[in-house]
C-alpha cells in the first residue's frame, strides 16, 4: 500500500462553514479516507501543527496574531497550501470590520456590553491581539491553490483534493471558481 497523503485542515478567522462543506462531501469522504491521513485540524485532536504535511486546507481570514503565527508555521511545514473559501481568499465578511477602529470594536463588544475581557497588558498573555485590519491569507504567505466560495460547494472541494491526491495541479472549470 502506498503511503497515505498527510492532510491537515485549519480554521482561522471564519465561521467553519467551509469545514461543514468539506464534511458534505458525504460518502466520497470514505474514498478519500483510504488515501489520506488527517494529521491536524478541528476534526482531530492534534495540539500542534505537525511537520511534513502534504496538503492543508486553510479556512478563514487572518484576524489576529495567533492566525499569523499559525499560518507562518503552516507555510513552513506544508508542501501545498490551499486557501480554502472566501474568507481565506478575500477576507470576506470578517474584513467588513476593516473600516472600523479596532479599539472601538473591542470596547463595544466586550466592555460596554455584558461580557468582559481583560484589556491592557495582562490580556496579551492570555489572548491573541486583533490585527488592525483583516487580511486574506496570501497577504502573508504564498498560496498554492485558491478555492473560493462561501462556502465552496462539496463537489468543488472534492475535485481539488482528488486532483492533488492524484498528483495533479487542480484545474477548476470557470463555473467553479466563483466567489460567494
Amino acid at each position: 500500500m502506498a503511503t497515505k497523503v498527510r492532510l491537515a485542515t485549519v480554521w482561522l478567522g471564519g465561521c467553519s462553514g467551509c469545514h461543514m462543506s468539506l464534511l458534505d462531501i458525504d460518502e466520497k469522504l470514505i474514498d478519500l479516507a483510504e488515501h489520506i491521513e488527517l494529521v491536524y485540524g478541528p476534526l482531530v485532536d492534534a495540539k500542534e501543527y505537525p511537520h511534513d504535511v502534504d496538503v492543508v486546507l486553510v479556512e478563514g481570514a487572518l484576524c489576529n496574531t495567533e492566525n499569523l503565527e499559525l499560518l507562518l508555521q503552516i507555510r513552513e511545514r506544508t508542501k501545498i497550501v490551499i486557501s480554502f473559501g472566501d474568507c481565506a481568499v478575500t477576507g470576506n465578511t470578517p474584513q467588513l470590520r476593516n473600516k472600523l477602529d479596532i479599539d472601538d470594536v473591542l470596547t463595544k463588544v466586550y466592555q460596554a456590553g455584558p461580557g468582559s475581557i481583560p484589556k491592557g497588558p495582562e490580556s496579551v498573555d492570555i489572548l491573541p491581539v486583533l490585527l488592525p485590519k483583516v487580511h486574506p491569507l496570501h497577504a502573508l504567505v504564498p498560496i498554492d491553490v485558491y478555492l473560493p466560495g462561501c462556502p465552496p460547494d462539496p463537489d468543488r472541494i472534492y475535485k481539488v483534493v482528488a486532483a492533488l491526491l492524484a498528483g495533479e495541479k487542480p484545474q477548476l472549470p470557470a463555473e467553479s471558481i466563483t466567489f460567494g
Binding site: 507562518l72 497588558p121 490580556s123 491581539v129
Partner: protein, 568 residues
Amino acid sequence: MTREELQAMAQKEQEKRKAFSCRLLVCYSTPCISSGAEGVRKALVDAVKARNLDAEIDVTCTGCVGPCSRGPLVTVRRAGQEDVIYENVTPEFAVQILAKHALGNEVLTSNVLPKDLPFFAKQLKVVLANSASIDPESLESYVGAGGYTALLKVLEDMTPEQVVDEIKKSGLRGRGGGGFPTGLKWDLVRKAKGDKKYLVANGDEGDPGAYMDRTTMESDPFLVLEGMAIAAYAVGADQGFIYVRAEYPLAAERLRKAIKMAEKAEILGNHIFGSNFNFHIDIRFGAGAFVCGEETALLTSVMGRRGQPYPRPPFPANSGLWGCPTLINNVETFGNIAPIINRGGDWYAGIGTEKSKGTKIFALAGEINNTGLIEVPMGITLREVVFDIGGGIPKGAGFKAAQTGGPSGGCIPAAYLDTPIDYENLAALGSIMGSGGLVIMNDRSCMVDVARFFMDFCRDESCGKCVPCRVGTSQMLRILEKICNGSAVMDDLEKLQEMGKMVQDTSLCGLGFTSPNPVLSTLRYFREEYEAHIRERRCPVGVCQIKEVPLAELMKELPRRIREAAKS
C-alpha cells in the same frame, strides 16, 4: 486696421518710447506681484507724478523677466546704455532708483543683478523675447515691438498651404508635452473635411511648480492671439477657444483685455486686416482638473461636459469640438508661430537638435539657487540649466535628481546631467519633456518620498474613467506609502514594477499612461533607496518615518505596543 495703420501705430509707439529720457520697467507678472510689485509700481508712478516727470520718465508694467525668486524686479532702460536690473526692490528703494539712477544716471550699488549672470547669458528667448519689455495690456506696446506683422504677412502674401509648409520647415513640435510635429497636425486639420473648424489653445497647465503657459499668457497675450489667428488661417478655422485655468485670473484677465483690444482694432473678428478672413476667440475657464490638460478631456470640458478623456481615434483633427475638425495646440506652441513666420522656418530650424528644434520654456523650481522662468535652446544640457542658469544647489547640498515633466515625468540622476535636453533623450531616460516643469532635488530628498508625492498627485487627479488609472494609481500609492512607513516587503517592489507597466500600457489617456513614470524612473535610478527602506528599515536621508512593520512582524509588534502603552 490696414497695413498703413499698423505701421503708423508701431511708429508712434516707438517714437513715444524714444521721447523718454529713461524708462522704468516694473516686472508685473504673478511671481513679482506676489512679492510686492504693485507697491513698487505705485511708488514709482506717484513719485513721477509728484515731481512732474511724466514727459521724461516712463513707468511701464511688463511681463516676466525671469529670475522670479529675486522679485520684485525693476529694469532701468536708457537709450544707448545697457539695461540695469534691480532685484528685491521695495517701494522705498524704487524711489531711490528713480531719484539717483533714472534722474542722476548713477547706478545704485546694491540690489543690482550682475550683468554677466549666466542666468541670462545661456538663454535664448523667442517666445518670451518681448516679455520683459512690453506692456501686456497694451496693443500699441505689442505692435511697437513688431507685433502683428506676421499675421499681416500671412494674410497678404501666403496661402494656407504655404503657412503650413513654413511651420513644417521650422520643425516645431507641440510644447504641451507630446511633441507631435506642429506642421503635420496643422496639415491634418487643414485637409480634414468639414464646413466648420475649430481651434483651441491649451492653457491648462497643471504640473506642480510649472508656470510656463501662465507666464506666456500673462506676459505677451497678443503673441498667443496672433499665433492662433495665423493657425486659424492655415487650417480654415473661424472660431477659437483659449482654455485657461480659473486659478490663473491674471492670465485670463489680460487675455480678455487683449481680445477686446484686438477686436476693436479689427485684427480679430470679421474681416481681419480688411481681408475675407474671419476669426473669433472666446475664453473658457477650466475648474482646475489636471486631466483637462489632456486634449480630449479639454475638448469635452470646452463643450460643457464632464472633463474626461475619450479614446482616440477619432483624433481631434478629424472630430473634435462638436464633431468638427479641431486644431488643439499648447499656448507656448502658438507663441512660437509669429516669430517663425517673421524670421522664417529655416531660422527656427537652425536652433536646437536634429529632431527637436527651437527653444523651450522651463520653470526652474525646487532646490536651486535661481528659481524662475527660463527659455533655452533645445539641446542644452541639464548641467548648463542646473549649474549655469540655475546657479547650482543652495546651502552646500549636492545635486541628486532633476524631475522633468511633472507628475507625468521622471527623475533624472546626476549621471545623465550632460544629456542634451530634447524629446527623444528625455524619453530614453524614462522621463518626458512635458510642458516644461523642471524640479531640482538635492541630496537631502528621499526619492521614494518624491515618487509617493507624485503618485498621490496622480491618484488625486485621475478622472476615474478607466480602471488602470483609477485603481492602479491608488494601489501604487498604497505600496509607496507602505515603503515609506516601513510596512512593505521586497515583493512589493516587484508588484510596483508590474503595476507600473500595466498602467502605462492600458490606461485610456496620457495622465494614466505617464503616471507611473516618477515611480519607474526612481526605481530604475535609485533602487537602493527603496531597498534600504524595506531591508534595512531606514530612510537613507531621514525624510521618511519608519514606524510600521510588515504584516508578519505584527505578531510581536502588537503585543509590544500594548505593553508599551500601558507603561506610559
